[in-house]
């Protein structure tokens, strides 16, 4: 028995799903990405509400309570100077995220315009800017950060800012390159030419019309950079550069804990896992963003 003609709807090509819904669907498709997002949110909460969440003052010395193993009183034990590890871990989140976000912001403010200008104007401007970026990229991130930190340290800037400035400089080329690439690819598009024919100033064309196209890859880049920056910050504080004592930084905690390698493994494991977890979270969220925003970027980023 066949249904009546009017009851059956012959569908043609499927209707276009709204962009936002598609983005949400692709983004949360992988459990890993959702997991990463959860970790990041938790990290953010820990950083912002550190004073409320930390059971103890991270700087408070406890001379009688040195190197305690984890217990109900100190969930992760105490360190060499009797400070509560868990509290220091939570405050360390603050340091890490602060360094990460501020560095990304600063390098973005500098790198993105550089990329647009270089791509848009071409010629000598392009050559000078991009070669300068190439030169910066010849220095491994850690190396550049180390040298800059060594120099900046001589100035009376607090440790955390030394790290932030050093890392920002190291990361600028990434933004310049991505923006440069996007600019080159759409520079000759008809609507750009139309804008210029209309008499729009160069600034307007660059920032109002070209730049927004760079947002998707830039957002992905920023997320990935955050992971790399936190890793670099950890490396620097591990080597002893950056946070002045008694500040809490995960890398430094690992270094301190290393001395008690076998006796108090929590001292170096806890901050180490924290670092790995945050970087992992940023990377997976970055992956998810990239797939959701534009899978064509997969080869580039």
């Amino acid at each position: 028995m066949v249904k009546k003609h009017s009851d059956i709807a012959f569908s043609e090509a499927p209707v276009r799903v709204s962009e936002w819904r598609r983005f949400r669907r692709v983004f949360f498709e992988r459990r890993l990405v959702t997991f990463g997002l959860v970790v990041l949110v938790l990290m953010l909460i820990a950083a912002i509400f550190a004073p409320l969440l930390a059971p103890y003052d991270p700087y408070e010395l406890g001379p009688g309570e040195r190197l305690l193993q984890p217990s109900s009183k100190h969930l992760l034990g105490t360190d060499l100077l009797g400070r509560d590890t868990l509290s220091r871990l939570i405050y360390g989140a603050r340091t890490a995220l602060m360094v990460g976000f501020i560095s990304v912001f600063i390098s973005g403010i500098i790198g993105i315009p550089l990329g647009v200008i270089a791509g848009y104007f071409g010629g000598i401007t392009n050559m000078v800017i991009m070669r300068a970026m190439d030169a910066l990229m010849c220095f491994p991130m850690l190396l550049l950060a180390l040298v800059l930190a060594a120099v900046l340290r001589e100035y009376a800037i607090s440790g955390i800012w030394v790290v932030i400035i050093a890392l920002s400089v190291a990361v600028i080329p990434g933004y310049a390159r991505v923006t440069h690439g996007v600019t080159l690819s759409i520079k000759e598009n008809d609507y750009i030419l139309a804008q210029r024919a209309m008499g729009s100033s160069n600034m307007r064309v660059m920032f109002r019309h070209i730049l927004p196209n760079a947002f998707p890859p830039l957002i992905v880049l920023m997320t990935m950079q955050l992971g790399a920056l936190i890793l670099a910050e950890a490396g620097l504080s591990f080597l002893g550069i950056g946070i002045d004592p008694p500040g809490a930084a995960w890398g430094a905690m690992v270094f301190d804990g290393y001395k008690y390698l076998a006796s108090n493994p929590v001292l170096w494991l806890a901050p180490g896992i924290a670092i790995a977890l945050v970087v992992f979270a940023f990377n997976t969220v970055g992956d998810g963003l990239r797939d959701a925003l534009d899978p064509r970027l997969r080869g580039l980023l």
């Binding site: 066949v2 012959f10 569908s11 043609e12 090509a13």
Partner: protein, 351 residues
């Protein structure tokens, strides 16, 4: 209802299977996508004789390419061949393991394929020599030297000038038309019995199209092979094919000799297709009439005739009965339609 149109032309089963080189029986291939199951090929049956040229015509998405890829077992996830038989030289090819030695000895050696996109169908990092000789060495067990000479010979046959110089070039150093000639040479290199050309000229300009089709016809005659031309352009097969199958939404809707199809088309879709083609022998003022509507979504197809929403000849019966089976009109002419369109020659004014 006969399963293979035209096969009753022969008096006995034995005679039938002796002449038929390839017989495809009720082939079904499906793709499992997020939105549902796409029935790309939904019960397709056809046959090819020795040294015959047949055309498989239909618009994009009707399943013609998928059907040919299924014959070669070149379907990969999310696609799957779910039913039917492909009888070649007495064996059902679908029973062979996809990557097993038996199927591999068929591909390239007995049945070969020419693909649509010459620009991307050749490996950019290997020379033409490498890509031609690997088949000769594998299937014909030739030595490197002999294979190279044969490859040069083949290139010459398909009209590549200075073949002995150009054989060591890379694909990007050839134009689209030349690359397609190389593909033709590759397809025929191991003397296959059947060559399947999947939209071989769609990506090329009209002049090159004509040259290549002429070349293919010559080559298959020379090699005594059969040719399947898969295309959306009826005009292409008019000149070369002896028999034509018209496909729509995964099934064959009309089959017959070229004369039948062009002279007395019966299925509304075929009639529509013919109306789209400009012809030299018709009146100046005839308008080209496109078929209204869009191809159907192959997921969750209703059980009635799939052409229904676009049909100008439909009657009440069409919406009440399932997809019409193929019925024989005469000789080798079959059609799957409830309407006698010949009687309704003039387009009804109401539609």
């Amino acid at each position: 209802m006969p399963s293979t149109p035209g096969s009753e032309a022969y008096s006995s089963d034995e005679e039938k299977s002796m002449a038929e080189l390839l017989k495809v029986e009720n082939l079904k291939t499906q793709f499992h996508t997020e939105s549902g199951v796409v029935k790309a090929v939904d019960g397709v049956s056809y046959y090819i004789d020795e040294q015959e040229i047949i055309g498989l015509v239909g618009e994009s998405g009707c399943g013609k390419s998928v059907s040919q890829l299924s014959v070669m077992q070149l379907i990969s996830t999310p696609g799957k061949i779910v039913g039917g038989e492909v009888i070649f030289e007495g064996q059902d090819l679908l029973k062979y393991k996809t990557h097993g030695p038996k199927m591999r000895s068929i591909r390239g050696a007995k049945i070969a394929m020419i693909f649509q996109e010459p620009m991307t169908s050749l490996n950019p990092v290997l020379t033409i020599n490498q890509q031609l000789t690997e088949m000769l060495e594998l299937h014909l067990k030739m030595s490197k030297k002999a294979a190279r000479e044969r490859a040069i010979e083949l290139l010459g046959m398909v009209g590549i000038p200075s073949a002995h110089n150009r054989i060591d070039d890379y694909p990007h150093q050839f134009s689209g038309g030349m690359r397609q000639r190389v593909m033709i040479a590759m397809a025929l290199s191991c003397n296959p019995r059947i060559v399947i050309a999947d939209e071989p000229t769609t990506a090329l300009d009209v002049t090159t199209q004509a040259q290549l089709l002429e070349l293919m016809k010559d080559m298959v005659e020379r090699f005594k092979a059969s040719l399947v031309i898969v295309t959306h352009n009826l005009g292409v097969v008019a000149r070369y094919a002896q028999r034509i199958y018209i496909m729509y939404a995964g099934r064959i809707v009309e089959a017959g000799t070229t004369k039948d199809i062009f002279g007395k088309p019966r299925h509304p879709y075929t009639i529509g297709l013919l109306k789209c083609i400009p012809r030299l022998d018709e009146e100046e003022d005839r308008k080209l009439v496109p078929i209204k509507g869009l191809p159907p979504n192959l997921i969750n197809m209703p059980p009635t005739c799939a052409f229904l929403p676009r049909c100008s000849y439909k009657i009440k019966k069409c919406s009440q009965k399932p997809w019409p089976p193929l019925t024989r009109l005469h000789g080798q002419h079959y059609v799957g339609c409830y309407v006698n369109t010949e009687e309704m020659r003039n387009e009804p004014a109401a539609r």
